[in-house]
């Protein structure tokens, strides 16, 4: 199998938990942020032993950094406080997450706790004299105010350029403080692959927070769950786990500090997004021997079956899992068949711009519905997604791949050329302003209706309805496309090279 061939090529570096932080992904995985071409060509290239080439862009648009990508969501760790050690602007990204959480209906099992965010508020004086005084003050203030069980310290560009001795402060203050101090190195300039923050976060959690196992808990399953696993997904997965007599523990977002202490005792760590979770899975395995499997994510019927069977292997729940699959499929499959029959979008095309798990699942599902996959856009390319793309390619044939680290101008070029009927991706890029439809994406994180569940068996059906409705009405997109000016000059669309600014 070609997949195995790919696996063999990439050597995963061992986690060195003694280091202050994880390496950046440019180095550890050879991730790249600029690529465009057919998936068949990409796979040929990689399978014949060619590394992915790094390209800088001479024109770039607003993007994400290590802090915004991950760390400001870590505030959802219960009984903790998050210190964003930078000027006030760096803390902006965390406010919204706090509100999303507070909106979860209590009847949907929202645990009752406060989310605490402190900005160390670095100002001009601190830039001159160093930010260490303010960080100490922020730690002391967090202890006094919130009495937390853990305190996450997120670094910033400013603290990084100054060279604040974060580890020194942690070492000197920890003995007098009950709360675990967890420094995460997410200086924005440290890596151009913002997913490096997934690793930095995992590194810090395993290094500073997780305790060695006292006993093994056979029924405890760690589930890597970033924020894109919606609340409705959690509710649905919890329902399924309860049916087979297992306890899911979603980590790290929304786990309590004490739950995180004991994730070393779990039977297995299951993935939902390999890119997000691999480092955490790996670190838990290397340090505490918690087994894991890296793929697939429980998206779609087939993957969900494999996912649960994998979990069964580590928990001895083979029988229960088979029964679960049978029951759930009996409920969902007839509805799905019915949906497929009435689905009106056959022969339409979709452009998928998403994180790694969805970038793989949506094309497969769209193909199953009879749609054409025009292109898949991701933030970055790395060995994880290569393996996944290989399996998608084998299943549905050729399509275009574009890695762009956001960069709407390139995505706009591609959309303009391909004119797909559907585009699924983030708003705030203006890309919905075109003739086709837009499938909403991240808003499911703050939509607590049960219909926003996209994971596991039923999620597939929900996603089908979402696509169906989007196809039916592109009027907002069309109207704005016609009536409002485009930000890029015409020449951009008249030349063929989407990577014109990534050639230097």
């Amino acid at each position: 199998m070609k997949e195995v061939l790919l696996m063999a090529k990439f050597e995963y570096k061992k986690v060195n938990i003694d280091n202050d932080t994880s390496p950046k992904r440019e180095d550890s995985m050879g991730s790249i942020k600029a690529y465009s071409g057919k998936v068949s060509e990409l796979l040929d290239k990689v399978n014949t032993g060619n590394p992915l080439e790094w390209h800088n862009r001479s024109f770039e648009q607003a993007s994400q950094c290590l802090l915004t990508q991950t760390v400001n969501r870590i505030l959802t760790i219960r009984d903790s406080a998050l210190i964003i050690h930078g000027p006030v602007g760096c803390a902006q990204g965390s406010y919204g997450y706090r509100e999303i959480y507070r909106n979860v209906p209590i009847q949907l099992q929202r645990p009752n706790f406060q989310l605490n965010i402190i900005s160390s508020n670095l100002t001009e004086q601190d830039i001159v004299f160093g930010g260490e005084k303010k960080l100490r003050q922020a730690i002391e203030t967090s202890v006094q105010r919130y009495n937390p069980k853990s305190i996450v310290i997120a670094t910033s560009c400013a603290s990084g350029v100054m060279g604040d001795d974060i580890e020194g402060i942690v070492e000197s203050m920890q003995p007098d403080i009950e709360a675990r101090l967890i420094p995460i190195h997410c200086e924005g300039f440290r890596s151009q692959i913002s997913q490096s923050a997934f690793d930095a976060t995992a590194h810090a959690i395993v290094k500073y927070l997780v305790k060695p196992p006292k006993k093994k808990q056979k029924d405890l399953v760690n589930i890597i769950a970033p924020f894109s696993v919606t609340w409705a997904d959690r509710v649905e997965l919890t329902r399924l786990f309860t049916k087979i007599g297992l306890r899911p523990r979603f980590i790290p977002d929304f786990a309590s500090t004490e739950e995180l202490f004991e994730i070393s005792e779990a039977a297995v760590t299951a993935p939902t997004c390999p890119s997000y979770g691999f480092y955490l899975q790996n670190a838990l395995y290397e340090k505490f021997g918690v087994p894991f499997f890296r793929e697939p994510a429980p998206l779609g019927i087939e993957y969900t079956e494999i996912w649960f069977r994998n979990i069964a292997k580590y928990t001895g729940k083979e029988k229960e899992v088979e029964q679960l699959i049978k029951e759930e499929k009996a409920q969902v499959l007839p509805q799905l068949e019915e949906f497929k029959k009435t689905f009106k979008g056959k022969d339409s095309s979709i452009f998928v711009s998403a994180g790694q798990a969805r970038a793989v699942f949506i094309p497969k599902f769209a193909a199953e519905l009879g749609m054409n996959v025009a292109a898949v856009n991701t933030l970055e390319l790395d060995p994880f997604i290569m393996e996944e793309l290989q399996s998608v390619y084998e299943q549905i044939g050729d399509f275009e791949v574009h890695a762009s680290d956001v960069q709407p101008f390139e995505q706009s070029h591609m959309l303009n050329r391909m004119k797909p009927d559907l585009y699924t991706g983030c708003p705030f890029m203006g890309l919905y302003k075109r003739d086709g439809s837009h499938v909403r994406n991240h808003s499911f994180r703050s939509d607590f209706s049960i219909q926003s569940n996209q994971f596991a068996f039923k999620g597939l059906l929900n996603y089908g309805f979402i696509i169906q409705r989007a196809l039916n009405n592109p009027s907002l997109n069309k109207t704005l496309h016609e009536k409002r000016p485009a930000p890029y000059k015409k020449w951009w669309y008249e030349q063929d090279d989407i990577l014109a600014y990534a050639r230097q």
């Binding site: 915004t68 922020a138 705030f428």
Partner: protein
């Protein structure tokens, strides 16, 4: 490393809040403030010279909190950004910036370009002025503002950007009689900035003036250049906007006046109209006629809401948490003309010490026999402690206060940043009808059949 001695921050006064860490302060950094201005001047193209994540924080997160105002033309993740990496931190970012400006002019369709820098560029000492000078031969102007995040908050970024525009893009010209500049509304930081500007503009046009607001309309580069031809600058805030107003006075002799709060409802709006009219010596007859017409309509509307207010809200205790102009404006209307009892007012925009007396005096001369407790507080934790000990039935605040309010079954309406749960495009509580609009918005949340 050397700290760049930027002229526009060197004489900055160290504030009390500068020495403290803060829980969820209700503003962003200077870069966010700068971008809030630049992205709202028609066909201006901003260029962020900062780390990659400043885009997400300032163009996305800050704006979601600012009434969920979307990207419009060049905004959001479309915004050009140099996305500084480790290499630039070590070797400097000037070359990268020059490359980015060149490419932006080639690719993006705009009438003017403006660089706003973040912390990294400010710390490593990039000479942005020199880089920008390399583009003086271009057909389109390229301006810049020093907006390092550590230099100050949104308000500083707003003022520095307007000052940079005045210094770099305006020149001496003939004063046009009846032309006024309006400052004080900071996009997103004031979630109603667009509606506020438009309402204040309509009032001023109603008394025969020609209004330059620079942001939030289609005046673009022309509007920027018009600033130096105004007869008067009107600052609708006790402090925000005074910086650029003073610069226009220094540079071009244009006087300014400051109205200390958002005029909400007829009483304060008439006071505002009369103050402006006096400064510009507008004909009394015209003004009287305008005021009479507007007040007739406004009190007619209040009369319509009067019954339900009398039934439900007579003397109801209210709390307000907002920037000084908004908080004072809404509290004055509700106390002076609508019969409410303001119990606590939290001012969270960190106004300079010297204007705090003015702010207090506007809340101490309420027509009703009530004196709310007034707190100046930026830190969310301290702010909540004050609210926890106060009694109120209605709280006009940011979306962050709604959870505590809901737990106590109190009525909450977001009127200040962050308002994550509110979509604001044209909403405003300014002007003669503004008070009624405010009543409609929060009374709707609790009136019932009786």
């Amino acid at each position: 490393m050397s700290l760049r001695s930027a002229e526009n921050t060197s004489n900055k006064i160290e504030k009390e809040t500068d020495s403290k860490c803060l829980e969820s302060p209700k503003y962003t950094c200077a870069l966010g403030g700068a971008l809030a201005v630049i992205t709202n001047i028609d066909r201006f193209v901003p260029i962020i010279h900062a780390g990659a994540g400043c885009g997400t924080n300032q163009m996305l997160s800050f704006r979601s909190g600012g009434g969920n105002q979307g990207i419009g033309y060049i905004n959001g993740m479309i915004t050009p950004s140099s996305n500084l990496s480790e290499k630039e931190v070590v070797f400097g970012g000037e070359e990268r910036l020059a490359q980015q400006i060149r490419a932006t002019i080639d690719l993006m369709d705009g009438d003017a370009f403006m660089v706003a820098n973040g912390c990294i560029a400010g710390m490593i000492g990039d000479d942005i002025e020199a880089v920008v000078r390399g583009f003086t031969e271009e057909e389109v102007p390229v301006a810049y503002v020093n907006s390092s995040g550590f230099a100050g908050n949104t308000y500083l970024g707003y003022e520095e950007t307007l000052k940079s525009l005045i210094n770099q893009l305006t020149k001496e010209q003939d004063i046009v009689k009846g032309r006024v500049n309006v400052f004080g509304f900071v996009p997103y930081q004031d979630i109603f900035w667009r509606g506020n500007l438009s309402k204040i503009g309509n009032i001023l046009r109603g008394i025969g003036l020609d209004v330059t607001q620079v942001i939030g309309d289609f005046s673009g580069l022309e509007g920027v250049r018009r600033m130096s031809s105004a007869e008067l600058t009107i600052v609708v805030s006790p402090w925000v906007g005074l910086g650029p107003a003073k610069l226009l006075e220094e540079k071009y002799g244009i006087p300014y006046l400051s109205f200390p709060n958002l005029p909400v409802g007829p009483q304060d709006t008439t006071e505002f109209v009369r103050l402006v009219s006096k400064a510009l010596k507008l004909p009394a007859r015209r003004i009287n006629k305008y005021v009479q017409q507007q007040e007739r309509q406004a009190y007619y509307e209040l009369d319509i809401a009067g019954d339900v207010c009398a039934q439900f809200s007579t003397s109801l205790p209210i709390a307000a948490v907002a920037d000084s102009a908004t908080a004072v404006g809404v509290v004055r209307f509700l106390a002076n003309e609508a019969g409410f009892t303001p119990t606590i007012v939290v001012i969270n925009d960190d106004p300079p010490e010297e204007v705090r007396e003015t702010i207090l005096s506007r809340l101490n001369d309420l027509r009703a026999n009530v004196k709310p407790k007034v707190i100046f507080e930026v830190d969310n934790y301290e702010l909540n402690k004050h609210l926890a000990t106060a009694y109120y039935r209605v709280i006009l605040a940011s979306s962050q206060e709604r959870f505590a309010a809901q737990e106590e079954n109190q009525i909450h309406l977001s009127i200040s940043y962050p308002a994550f749960e509110r979509l604001v495009v044209n909403d405003t509580y300014a002007g003669y009808g503004g008070g009624i609009a405010l009543l409609e918005d929060f009374m709707t949340k609790f009136i019932m059949p009786y």
